[in-house]
């Protein structure tokens, strides 16, 4: 399988990554102990692979990066926030299947 397409962001690398991304960047806020997060991870891998060039996917482990999670009012995981031109454009709370995710991301793909 190809190398992991999803970049892991941290409290210190987050802002720069968001500002410098040319494509829309979908950030997955997750944690090890969150069951539904585990289900979403492979779906996001697929989406990252299938839409390479049009969309980038990154992840933030909220356990280790509470500052970023707090800044964006993440109160439930998984939460996906789509950033475009450095600003949050779309927020998806709760685990969803691939079809539903793609439908919600349609405008940004």
């Amino acid at each position: 399988m190809a190398a992991d397409m999803i970049t892991a962001l941290t409290d210190s690398t987050f802002d720069e990554e968001i500002a410098s991304s040319e494509q829309p960047l979908l950030v997955d806020f997750w944690a090890e102990w969150c069951g539904p997060c585990r289900l979403v991870a492979p779906v996001l891998e697929q989406i990252a692979r299938e839409h390479e060039g049009a969309l980038r996917v990154a992840k933030v482990d909220v356990d280790a990066n509470q500052e970023v999670a707090r800044r964006f009012d993440v109160l439930s995981i998984p939460t996906l926030i789509l950033f475009k031109d450095g600003a949050p454009q779309l927020r998806i709370v709760g685990a969803k299947g691939k079809a539903q995710l793609l439908e919600e991301l349609q405008a940004f793909l």
Binding site: D63, D73, L75, S76, V93, G97
Partner: protein, 339 residues
């Protein structure tokens, strides 16, 4: 070794499988292990990811420590246990489809099961769709789901460190969640509509002894308060009718579960509580060739181990039924049965 699936593309009917299993909690995956080992090449339609209990892996995906599943002396994490079930089913050749069944047709043989536009057909069907977490049904609850309202204490408790929060419910799940949440929250108020909890004695004792847990009896939530985030709840006393407000930053809804039977409405018999009806002592439903196991047909026990047990029963019931079918007999004859 699993059979390749060529779902119908409109040009011709899809191939007929021996068995399809809908649902992938302990019941469905145990049925998958047993039917796979019986060389019945099961297709498991696992469900779609979600943050409620209606997801691949079922209700245990929303728990942390499972201490009462036999065989695990020190307990095991719910998601880890379900990952084991799944890997075991895959090992014996069960085919796993991480998507949701959208329609079934049980009116003729073979049965039809649709996942969106894709149709699958099988001679036997095992229904193990389980039960989903109930919500209160308030508009304010739906609006603030994910913004302070949650149905997954293990996923979201983390975000309420040092806060005051509430749990609605009176059963084992509600108390388990409340106790778990005291790891993070400063105070957890359990809101229950009656004077007495229906949880097991051991859970009640633990909750009563926990200093961080308070109780609001005879109370129901009439509204969740807050603009962008939860600020509190409005309560109504079920005895006096008096209204009050409780300031909380989080609300965890743990009021019980409802069996996932919508897919089978009008096609399978249900009991008064909405659970699928099965013949006592078996998993047979009122449609020959359709078997139900796990929480979708059980509202008495509802444990992972009883669900797994009934999944095994469903596999054996299905296999015996398939062998008894005239046209199937030739197809299955001579196939070694190695449970």
């Amino acid at each position: 070794m699993s059979q390749t699936v060529h779902p119908g593309d409109g040009a011709g009917a899809p191939p007929v499988r021996d068995v399809i299993i809908i649902g992938s909690g302990p019941a469905g995956l145990t049925a998958a292990i047993y039917t796979a080992r019986a060389n019945l090449h099961p297709l498991v339609i696992e469900g779609a990811p979600s943050s409620t209990s209606d997801q691949p892996g079922g209700q245990l995906m929303l728990t942390t420590d499972v201490e009462n599943y036999p065989g695990f002396v020190d307990g095991i994490q719910g998601p880890e246990l379900m990952a084991n079930f799944r890997a075991q089913a895959a090992r014996f050749g069960a085919e796993l489809l991480t998507d949701k069944a959208t329609r079934v047709d049980l009116s003729a043989a073979p049965f039809g099961v649709w996942v969106g536009k894709t149709e699958y057909r099988s001679r036997a069907l095992i229904v193990s769709t389980g039960a989903r977490s109930l919500l209160l049904g308030l508009d304010s609850e739906r609006r603030l789901l994910g913004y302070g309202v949650s149905t997954c204490a293990t996923c979201d408790g983390f975000f309420f460190r040092g806060q005051e929060i509430a749990v609605v419910g009176g059963g084992d799940s509600a108390l388990e969640e409340a106790i778990f949440l005291t790891k993070f929250a400063d105070k957890v108020t359990v809101i229950h509509r009656r004077k007495e909890l229906r949880a097991s004695k051991i859970m009640q004792d633990r909750a009563f002894r926990n200093d961080k847990i308070a109780f609001r009896w005879d109370s129901v939530v009439t509204e969740v308060l807050g603009e962008g985030l939860v600020e509190g709840v409005r309560l109504r006393d079920t005895v006096t009718g008096e209204e009050s407000e409780l300031a909380v930053k989080g609300l965890f809804v743990a009021i019980g579960h409802a069996p996932n039977t919508a897919l089978f409405a009008g096609q399978l018999d249900t009991d008064d509580a909405g659970y699928l009806r099965t013949e006592p002592g078996s998993t047979r439903t009122d449609v020959a060739g359709v078997f139900a196991c796990g929480d979708v047909q059980d509202h008495l026990y509802r444990q992972a181990v009883t669900a797994a047990g009934s999944g095994c029963m469903a596999a054996i019931d299905a296999e015996r039924w398939l062998e008894s079918q005239p046209e199937a007999a030739a197809h299955l004859a001579g196939t070694p049965r190695n449970w």
